[in-house]
C-alpha cells in the first residue's frame, strides 16, 4: 500500500510506478531451504532506492542485485548473520529494516517499553492517590443517605411502567 499511497500523495514528484513483482523466477535457488532463508533475509533488508520497501517486495534493479547478492552469499555457505554483516559493511546500517540496538537507536527501541511502564506506574500512583483521597468519603460512597434511598424507591416504582411505554 505504501507504494500506492505514496504515489497518490507524491505523484507530482514522481513519474508513474512500474508494477511490482519482486522475486523473479530466475533468481530462485534450487535448494528450497536456502531459498526460504534468502526470502526471510530479504524481508529484513531495505531496497535503498525505494521508499521503505524491503528487497523482497521491490522490483527496482538495485533490489534485484541485492537479492542475487544475498543468494550468492548463502550459496557460498554464509550464515544469516554473516550475510547481514556483509551487507551492513558494504551499504551501512541503512540497509537494515530493523535497526540494531546501539547508542543512536536507544530511544527508538526503549521508548515503547518505557512508555508502557511509565504510563503504568503513573496510573498506579494516580489511582492510589485517588483511592486515598476517596478513602475518607468511602463509607458515604457505599451507603446511601435516607434521601437517596427514598429517591431510589421512587425511581424503581416509576421504572416499570416507564419501560413499557
Amino acid at each position: 500500500m505504501h507504494k500506492l499511497i505514496a504515489s497518490l500523495f507524491v505523484a507530482v514528484m514522481m513519474a508513474g510506478y512500474p508494477a511490482a513483482h519482486a522475486v523473479q523466477p530466475d533468481e530462485i535457488m534450487p535448494d528450497p531451504a536456502k531459498e526460504a532463508r534468502a526470502r526471510d533475509l530479504s524481508r529484513e533488508l531495505r531496497c535503498m532506492v525505494c521508499q521503505n520497501q524491503s528487497i523482497d517486495d521491490s522490483d527496482a534493479p538495485l533490489a534485484r542485485d541485492l537479492r542475487l547478492l544475498v543468494r550468492e552469499r548463502i550459496a557460498t555457505g554464509d550464515s544469516d548473520s554473516q550475510v547481514i554483516d556483509f551487507l551492513v559493511a558494504r551499504y551501512g546500517e541503512f540497509v537494515l529494516l530493523k535497526p540494531r540496538f546501539s547508542p543512536h537507536t536507544l530511544l527508538l527501541w526503549l521508548l515503547p517499553p518505557l512508555a508502557l511502564i511509565g504510563g503504568g506506574v503513573a496510573l498506579w500512583f494516580y489511582s492510589r492517590r485517588r483511592t486515598d483521597a476517596g478513602a475518607e468519603t468511602d463509607p458515604a460512597l457505599l451507603r446511601l443517605t435516607v434521601e437517596e434511598e427514598a429517591s431510589l424507591e421512587r425511581l424503581l416504582a416509576t421504572e416499570a411502567p416507564d419501560k413499557k411505554a
Binding site: 505504501h2 499511497i5 504515489s7 497518490l8 505523484a11 514528484m13 513483482h21 521503505n52 535497526p99 515503547p112
Partner: protein
C-alpha cells in the same frame, strides 16, 4: 472562466472562514447571540463556496480543460469518466481541496445539527473550525492552487498515474479524509471546552458520535486502502508499515483510545482532562499525517529542504495548531474539575488500561516513523525502520490488550468483580484452548505461535459473544425472554460486541495469511500447469487487448481442484502509453474467506511469462474484521441516546420557533 470562478469561490470561502474564526468569538465574549450566530451562517456559506469550488474543479476534469495545469498534469481525454472524476483528488492540489471541502462539510454539519448545543459552545467550536479552515485555504491559495492556467494550452494531458486508475481511488482517499478531518470536530470541541473552561457530560455526549463517525470512516478507509494495495500492487501484501500508512494508523489508534475514554467521561464524568488531551492528540496526529505525506519529507529530508515552500507552510500550520492547543491545554486543563471515583478493577479501570496500551502503540508507531527523520536531521546518520521493527514492538502490545478486551465489558462501573468476570469468560477461554489444541495437533511441527494467536483471536470473539449472552440471559432464561432482552439491549452494547469481535476476526486473517500462505513463482508457457495448495492452474494462453487508454496482455488460467473445473482466471498486465508505465491487474478467485491470487510479470524472449500464484488462506478475514468494527461503530452511533442528543428534554419545545424557514 470555470477555473477563475473556482479560484474566486475558494477565496470567498477563505473570507468566510476568517469571519467564522473571529466574529463568533467576539460574540461569545460580549454575550451577543447575534454575533455568536454568525458562526452558523458563515459555516454553511463556507461549505457552499468550497463545494462550488470543488464542483468547478471536477467540471474542468470532466471536460478535459488542459489549459489548467492541474488537469493537464493528471488527466487525459481518453480516460474513462469515472477516473476523470477521481483524478480530481489523485494529486496534491486536488486532494488538498478535497481535504478542506470535507472540513467545511463537518463544520456545516455542526452548524446545521448543533441547535441543541449551548450557543457559546457552538460559537467556539465553529470558530476553531474556522481557524483550521483558514489555515488550509491559505495553504492551498498560496502554495497549491489547483486552478492555475498554462499560457499555451497543450492538446493532450499527461494522464493519471495508472496505479491510481482504479475504483479504489474513488473511495479510499475520501474515506480516509472523512476520518482524518472528522477528528477536527472533537479537536474543536476540546479547544472550545478549554477556552470556556467548562466541560460536562453533555460535552462528551456530543463529542462521542462525531468521533465515532470519524473513526468509522478511518477504519473503513484504512481497510479499503489495504485491500486496494493487496489486489493492485501484484504481490499480495496488505500492510507494509510504511510511513504513509503509519500516518493513518496513528490517528486511528489515538481515535480508538478517544472513543473509549469518551465513554468513561459520558457515563461516569471521569477522565475529563485525559479525554480532552486525546481529542487534541487525535487531530494533531491527523495534521502530522497530512504534513508527512504532503511535505515530501518522507521521500527524503533533502527533497524537503530543496523545495520547502509547501512543507514549511504545513509545518507552520502543524506547529501553530498542535503547539497552540497543547499550550492552551497546559494552561487551562487544571481548571477542569475531575469527577467520578473508581476502583482500579472496574469498567473505568479496564478502559484506562485500553487507553494505556493504545496510546503506547500509537507512541511506538510515532517513534518508529519519525525517528529516522529526526536522526538524519540531527546527526546525519541514516537508518531504516520497517516492518521487522514494528512487528517486534507493536505486535506484542496488542497481546495483553486483546487478552484484557473481553473482560472490560463484563466489569461493572465503579467497582468490578474480576473473579466473577473470569468465571463468566470460562466458556470463551475453554473454546479458545480447544481451538489452540486442535490447531496444534493439526499443524504439528509447524509454526508454534500461530495456534496461540488464533486461540487469542477466538477468545476475543467468544468473549464479545459472552457479553451478549450474559446480557440477554440466553441459555439461562427461556428463548423468548432472551430475544426480548436482546431487542431491549442498547445498540451501543451490540456495537461493542461487533467491534471487539472484529478485532478477533482480523487477527485470524492476519495470522492465517502470514503463516500458511503458499506461493508459486515461476515462468510458464501455454499449457504449463502450476500447483499451489492443491489447486491446479493451467495457462491456456496470453492474448493482447486494447483498452481505452492502455494496452493489456491478458493471460487465461483454468483452475481445477481435484480434477473439478472451478473457474477461469484472467490476470493481466497493462501498459499505459502516455506515461509509459505499466500495472499488474491480479486475478482473484475467492473460496470462502480464502483467495487464490494470480499476477503476471514480464514476458521472456522465449515466450514464457513470469507468473506468481499465491494461495492465501482466510485472507478476507483481514478486511472483514475492520468492516465488522465499522458496523459495530454504526450500531453504536444509532444508539437511542446519541440520536436523542444532549439530555435537555425541557428545552425541546422552544427549539422549533421560526428560525428554520430561512432554509
Amino acid at each position: 472562466m470555470i477555473a477563475e470562478a473556482g479560484h474566486y469561490a475558494l477565496v470567498l470561502a477563505l473570507a468566510l472562514a476568517l469571519i467564522q474564526s473571529t466574529v463568533p468569538l467576539l460574540g461569545a465574549r460580549w454575550g451577543d447571540p447575534a454575533l455568536m450566530n454568525v458562526a452558523r451562517s458563515a459555516a454553511l456559506a463556507q461549505l457552499l463556496f468550497v463545494g462550488v469550488s470543488f464542483a468547478l474543479l471536477t467540471t474542468l476534469y470532466i471536460v478535459s480543460d488542459f489549459s489548467v495545469v492541474n488537469v493537464f498534469e493528471n488527466s487525459h481525454s481518453m480516460k474513462p469518466l469515472i477516473y476523470k472524476i477521481t483524478g480530481v483528488w489523485g494529486n496534491h492540489e486536488g486532494s488538498m481541496l478535497l481535504w478542506v471541502s470535507i472540513l467545511a462539510l463537518f463544520g456545516g454539519l455542526v452548524a446545521a445539527f448543533g441547535n441543541n448545543l449551548p450557543l457559546s459552545l457552538r460559537a467556539h467550536v465553529l470558530a476553531v473550525q474556522g481557524w483550521i479552515a483558514s489555515a488550509f485555504y491559505l495553504f492551498i491559495l498560496i502554495t497549491s492552487n489547483p486552478f492555475l492556467r498554462i499560457a499555451n494550452p497543450p492538446i493532450e494531458g499527461r494522464d493519471l498515474n495508472p496505479v491510481l486508475q482504479d475504483i479504489g481511488l474513488a473511495v479510499h482517499p475520501p474515506m480516509l479524509y472523512l476520518g482524518y478531518v472528522g477528528f477536527s470536530i472533537s479537536f474543536s470541541f476540546a479547544v472550545a471546552a478549554l477556552i470556556e473552561g467548562r466541560i460536562d457530560a453533555a460535552w462528551a455526549r456530543w463529542v462521542r458520535p462525531w468521533t465515532l463517525v470519524a473513526w468509522i470512516f478511518l477504519t473503513l478507509g484504512i481497510a479499503m486502502g489495504s485491500y486496494w494495495a493487496y489486489y493492485e500492487l501484484g504481490w499480495g501484501g496488505w500492510w507494509f508499515w510504511d510511513p504513509v500508512e503509519n500516518a493513518s494508523l496513528m490517528p486511528w489508534l489515538a481515535g480508538t483510545a478517544l472513543l473509549h475514554s469518551a465513554v468513561v467521561m459520558e457515563k461516569r464524568n471521569a477522565l475529563k482532562v485525559w479525554t480532552i488531551l486525546l481529542s487534541i492528540l487525535a487531530f494533531s496526529l491527523s495534521l502530522l499525517g497530512t504534513f508527512l505525506v504532503r511535505s515530501g519529507v518522507l521521500t527524503s529530508v533533502h527533497a524537503f529542504a530543496t523545495d520547502p515552500a509547501r512543507g514549511v507552510f504545513i509545518l507552520l500550520i502543524l506547529c501553530l495548531f498542535i503547539g497552540g492547543s497543547f499550550l492552551l491545554y497546559a494552561w487551562r486543563a487544571s481548571s477542569l474539575k475531575q469527577g467520578g471515583l473508581f476502583a482500579p478493577i472496574s469498567r473505568e479501570g479496564a478502559l484506562v488500561l485500553n487507553n494505556l496500551f493504545l496510546t503506547t502503540a500509537c507512541a511506538t508507531v510515532f517513534v518508529g516513523t519519525l525517528y529516522p527523520l529526526a536522526l538524519e536531521v540531527l546527526t546525519g546518520d541514516k537508518i531504516s525502520v520497517g516492518a521487522p521493527f514494528f512487528n517486534l514492538t507493536f505486535g506484542p502490545l496488542f497481546v495483553p490488550l486483546m487478552v484484557a478486551m473481553p473482560f472490560g465489558p463484563l466489569l461493572a462501573w465503579k467497582r468490578g468483580d474480576l473473579a466473577g468476570a473470569s468465571q463468566r469468560l470460562m466458556a470463551a477461554g475453554i473454546v479458545a484452548l480447544i481451538a489452540i489444541a486442535v490447531l496444534w495437533a493439526w499443524t504439528r511441527g509447524g509454526a508454534t505461535l500461530a495456534p496461540l494467536a488464533i486461540g487469542l483471536a477466538i477468545f476475543v470473539i467468544a468473549g464479545a459473544l459472552t457479553d451478549l449472552v450474559e446480557r440477554t440471559a440466553l441459555f439461562r432464561a427461556p428463548l423468548a425472554t432472551a430475544m426480548a432482552r436482546a431487542r431491549g439491549l442498547p445498540r451501543a452494547t451490540w456495537g461493542t460486541a461487533f467491534a471487539h469481535a472484529g478485532i478477533g476476526v482480523a487477527l485470524i486473517g492476519i495470522v492465517c495469511e502470514t503463516t500458511w500462505n503458499s506461493e508459486y513463482i515461476g515462468s510458464m508457457k501455454p499449457n504449463d500447469v502450476a500447483t499451489v495448495a492443491g489447486y491446479q492452474l493451467k495457462l491456456d494462453g496470453v492474448t493482447q487487448r486494447q483498452g481505452p487508454n492502455f494496452r493489456e496482455g491478458v493471460a487465461q488460467f483454468t483452475v481445477t481442484l481435484d480434477g473439478e473445473l472451478l473457474q477461469v482466471m484472467k490476470p493481466s498486465k497493462r501498459n499505459f502509453t502516455t506515461r509509459g508505465s505499466s500495472t499488474t491487474e491480479a486475478a482473484l478467485l475467492t473460496r470462502g474467506a480464502s483467495q487464490l491470487y494470480v499476477s503476471l510479470g514480464d514476458t521472456n524472449a522465449d515466450g514464457a511469462i513470469a507468473v506468481r500464484i499465491y494461495h492465501k488462506p482466510m485472507v478476507l478475514f483481514i478486511w472483514w474484521g475492520p468492516v465488522l468494527m465499522a458496523f459495530g461503530g454504526l450500531l453504536s452511533l444509532s444508539d437511542r441516546r446519541l440520536r436523542v442528543g444532549a439530555p435537555k428534554p425541557a428545552k425541546k419545545p422552544d427549539k422549533a420557533p421560526a428560525m428554520q424557514p430561512a432554509e
